[in-house]
Amino acid sequence: MNPLSRWKERRRLDRELADEMAAHIQERNEQLMEEGWSAEDAARCASRQFGNVAVQREKSREAWGWSGVEELMADLRFGCRLLARSPGFTATALLTLALAIGSATAVFTVVDSVLLRPLSFRGSGELVVAWERLPFLAENATGPNPRHTDLWRKRATAFSGMVLLQQGARGVAFGAEHPRISGSVTTEPGLFGILEVSPALGRSFTPEDAVPGRDHVVILTYGLWQSWFHGDPGVIGRRIRVADTDREVIGVMPENFRFPNANALRAFRSKQGASSVPEPGIFLPAYVDLNEIGWSGDYGNWVTLARLRPGVSVREAETQLSSVEAEVARQMRLAGVPMSPQVFLQPMQQAVVGSSERALWFLMAAVSAFLLTACLNLAGAQLGRAISRQREAAVRSALGASKWRLLRSALAENLVLALAGGAAGVLLAQLGLDLFRRYSAVDIPRLAEVHLNPAVLVFSVMVTAGATVLSGLLPALRQVRADPQKALQNGTRVMGSRQSARATAWLVGVEVAGCAALLTITFCFGKSLLNLTTQDKGFQTERVAVAQVDLSHVLHAAPKKRVEADDRILSALRGIPGVETAGLVSAMPLEGESWIEELQRLDRPRQETPLLNLRWVSPGYFETMRQRLVAGRFFEERDRDLHSLVLSEGLARTVWGGENPLGAQVRIEGRSFTVIGIAADARSASLKTSPPAMAYVHYSDRRPFATFFMVRGRQRGAALPADLREAIWRAVPEATVNRVKTLDAQLSDSIAGERLQTAVLVSFGSAALALAMLGIYGVLSCSVAGRRREIGVRIALGATRRSIYAGTLRQAYVPVLGGLAGGLAAGVLVFRFVRSLLYGIEGVGPGILVMVAALFVAAALAAGFVPARRAAAVDPMDALRVE
């Protein structure tokens, strides 16, 4: 018989074995009677000598080799039946496990895809991004000046290729429709060579594509090709309009090719907030005319991407670049800028993942704490159940079940729970990730690459197994250790030993500690978020909508036409019914500092030149933002040709100290301006940094880049964004309206990362708190149930209700207070690791500690109240009569 047919026949085989053994006993019985034994003695002797028929059968079955599988299935069936008998417990346990495993899986999926998985380019370890650090940028760094990059390319031998590229967003259109926005990468032709990818369709860029006049070509990503051209292979050779230039489609990239978006791979490295940007959909050839670029300044948001020669380390390449950089410094000195920039390289993966790394690992730690709490809680509940099922274990052990078998059968129940919980958890994770990807305003680099994969599934399986063992082993051991004789003697009484009470106390203690640590950190994040949102911003976001508009190249080419278009739009906006004020500005509020220039006082040219953010604004901008005027005046129509300048208060103080700057002459970008006003400091670049130095000039000479039109409505709730878009298109039909949103939305998006972190922590924290309460409740009710007789005696002897309450609650004192102390200490320790993610908090203050402690004590009291009342309600007569 082969194993399979034996398996199919196993019931028949087992029945035959039973028959055979029965026959054996009878034969012996008969023989004994023949030898003159009495019928009764013979029967007893025969069956006694044979021993435990069930055990013998089991042992014989073992010889068939599949008893393990069979026993496991029996254990699982038994586990399912047990779980079905207590649906309340099962539902709670399943829900907890599903949530815990689900969130752990989801977070790990993100960590795995973003941090652990190498970028999908061939030999991605050799790809590096080069940065320059300039003295005045403090800890920030910038993508190098193209001229410096060019020198590196000529002198350094460590690289097999180096390109300059710029990230951006362009309106793309075909036919007569309004342009749609797409992320764009403008790059020197060598990019795809360095990344070692070639288009799936058509051709890659050639050096000729970067020659002015012949550069009207574009390469599409697979995603854009699919969604806009429905995968039509005839797209090669077609012409599309990109920011009002007709370009010929020459290639489509392969499906698995993903280029980091403008947030992930940007030319300026800082801690400041980033907003959601479109994924790169088009690649344009870049022509870099070095003659137009000086040695100093002219950084121009270029990213320098390079591939190391095989075998060259990042450090070696960096050393080589640094020696070339000495020549750069010499050239800069010759150009009159005595500055020596530092160059450094970063593996591309690190550059892309950058700032999100710490936050993600922290999230992983938080979810692990939650998972641990959930498992410990389950362990506590199971321990209680194990104690009440001790008699069952004792009976089974007396009937011949081995310890190993009992252990397995006790673990099986947890395995069932963990398997079901794990499966539900993976589904939840998948669902959560989908929702997250669709709706989150948080820009995590490589988010498009995030998906469940085998590595993640292995992780989930391991977590599930861990959860089984963690939550099941202690109760299972407890059951196995039960001494059958003692357990059976004890009759109907449910008993818990001192040892199991200690184990439970430890479980609750550790659970409380983990939870308290989590809550401490949660409170810190909450306070940080509160600091961010309630601080004085210096401007007001209510009832304001803002639209990013790219005017076409044609308009850009002629400054006069551009200003006309701006004016047309502005007057259209002012004409919208219900609009109070309207204005324009050259940078989106709350998207970080940009366009940094130096300021020079004309009367004291030798003085140090502070840096500032330059903004082109129209009359109405300050009124729309509700920024306060400190001195002088804001822009008016007459400033159009006056070269007027408005300064931020902080900048004015830095440069002029106590003097009055109004009317002073300054030089910015080589042009002179007259200071006409001082605006109050505002955190309009980022909520997370102190207000930056700002200088505002009139929009009439603004540069050909995106403009941000904003309007302030008279009443709340008006459909401003829709009206805004409508009005802009009415005024200038060929304008690309990249995005329209309320300033409120922009504000909340700018701290989306912080909000997400806090929300995640609050949900983990409150779930953990609920679990800890459940744990305390479980332990106390178990102990009350076990001590019914004792409590009855106490009441009979005159104990008051108050003393019974106190006595019951006292059992939770030690684990709760001990765990609380440990947890708060752990929270303070963890705080050091997350400090850089927080704003306006120097340390875990006593306020937070007291709040967490108070919350816990209240929760513990609430959780203990029901069992305590049950204890106080014990009727002594009833309790003593039970046996």
Partner: protein, 138 residues
């Protein structure tokens, strides 16, 4: 003799004082066995005389060894199952001398071959032990 059944002897060498060899303290079969496969060998040898049912096999071994070897049921049936699985014995249902429906085991040719090998090995082993255990001449 009956009370001995409470101890978990596979085979008890009776009559030899203080020599009770415990084959079966662990569920893990062979590793505690003094002579692995001894019981199987004895069963095969017993079946050489003709087909027998389980109880008869144990009786035969007991009687033939002058009650020195006692096969416990807890070892007999697992051993029989192992032999069945190896196809060294075959079983079919028949009727016992006492007219009871029992499973009767018989030796297969493969079992016969196996028995020969084991018997040779056993003889060599006994001879070896015998040489060591020869009375020491002082």
């Amino acid at each position: 003799m009956i009370s001995r059944a409470r101890f978990r002897f596979d085979i008890a060498f009776e009559g030899i004082d203080n020599l009770s060899i415990d084959f079966h303290m662990k569920r893990n079969k062979e590793d505690q066995d003094l002579l692995p496969g001894t019981l199987e060998m004895l069963i095969l040898q017993t079946l050489r005389r003709g087909p027998l049912h389980g109880y008869a096999i144990s009786q035969y071994i007991r009687e033939t060894s002058d009650e020195m070897l006692q096969v416990e049921e807890g070892s007999l049936y697992p051993a029989l199952q192992r032999l069945l699985r190896q196809e060294w014995v075959a079983a079919e249902w028949g009727v016992s001398a006492r007219n009871r429906r029992v499973r009767i085991y018989r030796l297969t040719p493969a079992g016969n071959k196996r028995l020969k090998r084991e018997a040779e090995g056993f003889e060599r082993l006994v001879a070896g032990i015998g040489r060591i255990m020869r009375p020491v001449e002082s």
